[in-house]
Amino acid sequence: MEIFGISVPALAGQLLIGLFNGAFYALLSLGLAVIFGMLRIINFAHGAFYMLGAFSAYMLSAYLGASFWLSLLIVPLVLAALAAVLERSMLQRLAGLDPLYGLLLTFGFALILEGGMQYVFGVAGQPYSPPASLSGASNLGFMFMPHYRAFVIVVSLFVCFGTWLLIERTKIGSILRAATENPSLSEVFGLNVPVLITATYAFGAALAGIAGIMAAPVFQVSPHMGSNLIIVVFAVVVIGGMGSIMGAIISGFALGLVEGLTKVFYSEASNVVVFVIMAIVLYFRPAGLFGKDA
């Protein structure tokens, strides 16, 4: 069975990998969008948080023997706590300044976290095995479906749409949106806006932590695993426009798929296709696909 001269199992396999990568793009760009919505800064440390998520899982397993499932609960909390401390102690002081300073400060965080991990663990990747219950693959007839990849895609979809529901459809979400829309008026109504800001930053970091632990069994756990990924995610965010949560999720998955397809038809371009799409989108629709204003 062939489509455009490519065998169906190969095509389906690449699409699955695309969707799998898209799951990470979506989780990370969602975190960036949530943080941007509230703090108006781009969190450059997001890639470092993702890397720390993977390393926390590795350390929990190597030093404490914690299982994957336990780590999946602990790691987001660790990241949230770290992010809350960073926000309270430093990021908060930049409120009201040009948002570029927030970008630069978080860039500094990223350098410290990555440099620190490299100092301790070296550049080589650390091994982390997936839980036994998720190893193996099923034959779907037209392709083999590795269980762990399917698990990651499902969890990512679940977390993404859960976040969307939380922000767009619940009381907590409406409080957050009110605080974003008009912080001073929200304070008049008795909302503790600084706490909301800290919580939002911590939540975004927790999302990066989830992405990190899910990446640990598949990609090498190395200090620089986040820095190259985060630049692609920035491009995803520019394509989608930062305005909407749903935009971040959809563009994350869609660009993962496009990247997977590119690998099938013209593999040399698969590293750059997201950037090329970004350039094209910016040229014709500067506000991004889902953005409202430029």
């Binding site: 570029l100 860039f107 620190g116 490299q118 100092y119 520019v238 350039a279």
Partner: protein, 323 residues
């Protein structure tokens, strides 16, 4: 400062004594730069000069126009690659090589600038970063860059066919000349009417538009000039170290240039050079120790942003202006 300035005299105008002080400081600096290679290792000094010019080029964009480019390594490293290739493979002279490097960087700057100026602020930063990552992959794959190995053993050549640049001290004075030309260009730009418009865009873009200025054209011009100057710094660096590698086009390099400009003082003429001197010196000393350089750079970044946003020169200027 030029005597034909059209400024209305005001509190910001330097007093005559302050101007004299500036001239003295400038003379002392010039003498120091001339005798420096007798005291310090010339290659170390040349490294400082190249990075000082790179950071100053970035500052033209960040400090004076208010545009944060997170992709300037593309122009720095691109210039280095073009020069290294032309000098080594095509056997052109060092001056021709540098000119080709600058032209190449300017073309890259124009191409990236056209797309990047379509968004403002934080999006501009992310766009330049993403586009420079695109350029990084192109340099990685391009047939002439030798991928991970880079272009090595680039000959320094002879200037005008007469002056042999192999000697470090001779090379130092060549680099010093290039640096002086670059800094003079930046000084001319920021003190020109063009520079005033650019600063107006930084202060209030909407107002500049309503005053009838074609803001995008100004932004694109500054972006291209800044890219060309960053290319000049990179081309010169390629000749000094006789190598052009992927490190020069990586995003970490862009970050370092931003740190140098920020630490020295954004929007000041001398700030980026001061910042470059501090960072390059620090890197040189740390390289001999086991201290992780990136962590220290990150810490300096955090301190600069939190406590020191005016930079070294900015703080100094404020004290010297206080009554």
């Amino acid at each position: 400062m030029s005597n034909t300035t059209t400024h209305i005299p005001g509190p910001t105008q330097s007093l005559p004594s302050a101007r004299a002080l500036k001239l003295v400081a400038f003379a002392v600096l010039a003498v120091a730069l001339l005798i420096a290679p007798a005291v310090l290792y010339p290659v170390f000094l040349m490294k400082i000069l190249c990075f000082a010019l790179f950071a100053s080029a970035l500052n033209l964009l960040l400090g004076y126009t208010g545009l944060l480019s997170f992709g300037h390594a593309t122009f720095f490293g691109g210039g280095a690659y073009f020069t290294a290739y032309c000098v080594k493979a095509l056997e052109v002279g060092p001056l021709t090589g540098i000119l080709i490097g600058v032209a190449g960087a300017a073309v890259l700057g124009l191409a990236i600038g056209v797309i990047a100026i379509r968004r403002q602020g934080i999006y501009f930063a992310m766009t330049t970063l993403a586009l420079s990552q695109l350029a990084y992959f192109c340099f990685l794959r391009a047939p002439f860059t030798n991928a991970e190995d880079g272009i090595q053993n680039v000959p320094r050549g002879t200037l005008f066919g007469v002056i042999d640049l192999t000697d470090h001290v001779t090379m130092y004075f060549f680099v010093l000349t290039v640096f002086a030309i670059g800094m003079f260009a930046i000084w001319r730009i920021v003190t020109s009417p063009f520079g005033e418009v650019v600063k107006a865009i930084r202060e209030n873009e909407q107002r500049a538009i309503s005053l009838g200025y074609n803001v995008n054209r100004y932004k694109l011009s500054v972006f291209t000039v800044s890219a060309a100057l960053a290319g000049l710094a990179g081309s010169t660096k390629a000749l000094v170290f006789q190598i052009a590698t992927l490190t020069d086009v990586s995003w970490q390099m862009s970050g370092e240039a931003i740190l140098m400009a920020l630490l020295g003082g954004l929007g000041t003429l001398t700030g980026p050079s001061v910042g470059a001197t501090v960072i390059v010196t620090m890197q040189n000393y740390l390289a001999a120790t086991s201290v992780p350089v990136n962590v220290v750079i990150g810490v300096v970044f955090v301190i600069s942003v939190l406590l020191f946003r005016k930079g070294i020169v900015g703080v100094f200027q404020r004290f010297s202006k206080a009554p």
